[in-house]
């Protein structure tokens, strides 16, 4: 795909953020007690560039941890239901999103914009502009390249900034939304003739073949490998909640007196209660069965049904896991499985 490139000089960079701050909410990676989070900013220099990946993914911009769906009031005339007013969703621009996180939002769209479309998600997606930072460094947990992604991957981004050797930025304009930002900030972006994006990106080796992974994991359904891999799992939901693509949610009614609201909140297939029936029966009664669901959904069901993977290789779940379950390691193990003979 041939995207247009522009040059954003380091002197213009703050000016761009300053201009954006005048018209909409601006978020970006901010350092807080040594950790980086995507946070709302008021000044350009709050944004840090010294980070591998923020603690939390960017999914909350389109799929927040609590989403109010509608509110209700009960009176003697009956129950009045009021839908969420989509016009209250503000315009936002998110700076410094890592390519894997932007891809995460792209893949999450496949779930939420599957018919029937989720109107709240759709509106949030429309209102959000993503200016990603290509990666010039990576750590031991990153493995996006093994899943078809990369440090300069543009899926989900509207503009991608690539830092050059002179500390200026190459701006890759990916979508019309991105082009609008360029056109509404005349003078900040300069034309550029030769573009060698690749040379500014970190090199990350490909460790396994992702098409092989899909076949192997689908065949492994009846094997004991998932029990082995998850034996040390303590059954929390950290991996799912920090995952940029995990889209499972729970619906709850929060009431106070005669009024309340219905909310959509994050949930995780790794939690025991996720599939627990009222009868007490639990179809996924072991952590092995739950871990299998997690991996199968990401690497078999989603590619099969939606054409995208449920994982972008950001490695967050491995970083956050209380017991160091490393998804990269586990996927490598699965791709090394010999062709499996299924049970009769």
């Amino acid at each position: 795909m041939n995207h247009q490139f522009k040059l954003l000089r380091k002197e213009s960079y703050s000016g761009l953020i300053g201009n954006l701050l005048k018209s909409q909410q601006v978020y970006g990676p901010v350092k807080q007690e040594g950790y980086t989070y995507y946070k709302r900013i008021s000044y350009p220099d709050e944004i840090t560039e010294d980070y591998i990946i923020p603690q939390m993914s960017a999914k909350s911009f389109v799929f927040p941890k609590i989403e109010k769906l509608f509110s209700f009031v009960k009176s003697k005339d009956g129950v009045r239901v009021e839908d969420k007013n989509l016009d209250t969703i503000p315009k936002k621009v998110i700076f410094g999103v890592r390519p894997c996180d932007a891809t995460g939002i792209h893949n999450l769209s496949a779930i939420f914009l599957w018919e029937p479309e989720d109107s709240i998600f759709k509106k949030r997606r429309e209102q959000t502009t993503i200016i990603s930072f290509a990666c010039s460094s990576a750590d031991d947990y990153c493995f996006c390249t093994s899943l078809g992604g990369g440090p300069g991957n543009t899926a989900g981004s509207d503009i991608q900034l690539i830092k050059t050797g002179t500390n200026d930025y190459l701006a890759e304009i990916i979508t019309p939304k991105g082009a609008e930002i360029v056109s509404s900030n005349p003078g900040l972006f300069e034309d550029v003739d030769s573009v060698e994006k690749e040379k500014y990106l970190v090199r990350l080796p490909v460790c396994f073949d992702d098409s092989e992974l899909e076949d192997k994991i689908t065949d492994a359904f009846d094997t004991a490998i998932f029990d082995d891999l998850s034996m040390k799992c303590v059954g929390c939901g950290a991996c799912a909640f920090i995952c940029p693509v995990c889209g499972c949610f729970d619906i709850q009614d929060e009431t106070k007196g005669s009024m309340g609201q219905r909310v959509r909140i994050w949930d995780s297939c790794g939690l025991r209660q996720f599939t627990l029936h009222t009868s007490g029966h639990n179809p996924r009664d072991t952590q092995g069965a739950r871990y299998r669901q997690r991996l199968m959904h990401k690497f078999s069901y989603m590619p099969d049904r939606l054409g995208v993977k449920g994982c972008v290789g950001c490695g967050r779940c491995s970083r956050a896991c209380p017991v160091e379950i490393n998804i990269h390691e586990n996927l490598q193990q699965i791709t090394k499985l010999v062709k499996i003979h299924k049970h009769e």
């Binding site: 040390k232 209380p322 490393n326």
Partner: protein, 267 residues
């Protein structure tokens, strides 16, 4: 390390135990829990100061109990966890072998709970420096400043319950947060709801927490949540003079009382 592997190897060989719960080096040189079931697994077992996780949590996990009698590599946190679980009648009838490892790396094989009690009788539980510093800092603040601090922290909480799941003493099969009649704690992750959850967890651990700090270590958003139960543990030690996870005869300070308990605020 050699001695650990030697003992663990013999235990598996003689079929005395079916699994050794210990640590190994995972990807990126990270220490991770490990279950040695076969002779060839033994070489993967490691020990050392980086093996800090509390493994007691695995003793009552069904998948692991199903494997058969375990041996467990135990640092001080794990030892106190095992003792407290036994006191609370969770694993008191369980057959197991404890491989106690002290700070110097010396290893001792304990065959039963009274061996463990003897071993622990010489141990003086001590909070690590970093946690003590944070506690001191918070104690110096005014209540208003502390509220701002905790409010900021509670905003970060995503209610993944890693703190609960990683805690050996949070063994309830049904937690109060899963109770919805009445709904004590909102399921959604809101600031007040999160505050209520962590407050409740800390209170439910009062007189029981073994101060391993595991809940704080595992938090994916880095909330120093262990400070709450640890602060209570300190308070209870000052008030009632007992430590947890040390002796088979200890009680829960919270489920008992003295007629002359002192306070200065009830009018």
């Amino acid at each position: 390390m050699e001695k650990l592997r030697e003992i663990a190897g013999e235990l598996l060989k003689s079929n005395d135990v079916k699994v050794v719960i210990g640590y190994t080096k995972g990807m990126n040189n990270k220490v991770t829990p490990f279950f040695a079931k076969k002779q060839e697994d033994i070489a993967k077992l490691i020990c050392g100061n980086s093996c800090a996780q509390n493994l007691a949590v695995y003793l009552y996990k069904k998948d692991i109990s199903d494997l058969g009698k375990p041996a467990i590599v135990a640092n001080i946190h794990t030892l106190r966890g095992i003792m407290r679980l036994a006191v609370e009648k969770q694993i008191d009838k369980k057959e197991m072998i404890i491989l106690a490892i002290d700070n110097a790396g010396d290893i001792q094989k304990l065959d039963n709970l009274s061996d463990l009690e003897n071993y622990l009788s010489s141990v003086i539980p001590q909070l690590n420096e970093e946690d003590q510093q944070m506690l001191d800092e918070l104690n110096r603040m005014t209540p208003g400043e502390r509220m701002v601090f905790w409010k900021q922290e509670m905003k970060k909480c995503i209610k993944c319950y890693a703190c609960r799941q990683a805690c050996p003493l949070c063994y309830c099969t049904r937690c109060t947060v899963e109770e919805n009649q009445p709904q004590w704690i909102p399921v959604a992750s809101s600031v007040v709801g999160n505050l209520e959850w962590h407050m409740m967890r800390a209170m439910h651990l009062s007189g029981r927490c073994v101060e391993c700090g595991q809940c704080g270590k595992v938090c994916p958003v880095n909330i120093p949540i262990h400070l709450l139960p640890v602060r209570i543990a300190q308070e209870m030690k000052t008030l009632y003079g007992t430590s947890t996870g040390i002796s088979l005869s200890e009680k829960c300070d919270m489920s008992t009382f003295k007629p002359d308990d002192k306070e200065n605020f009830i009018g």
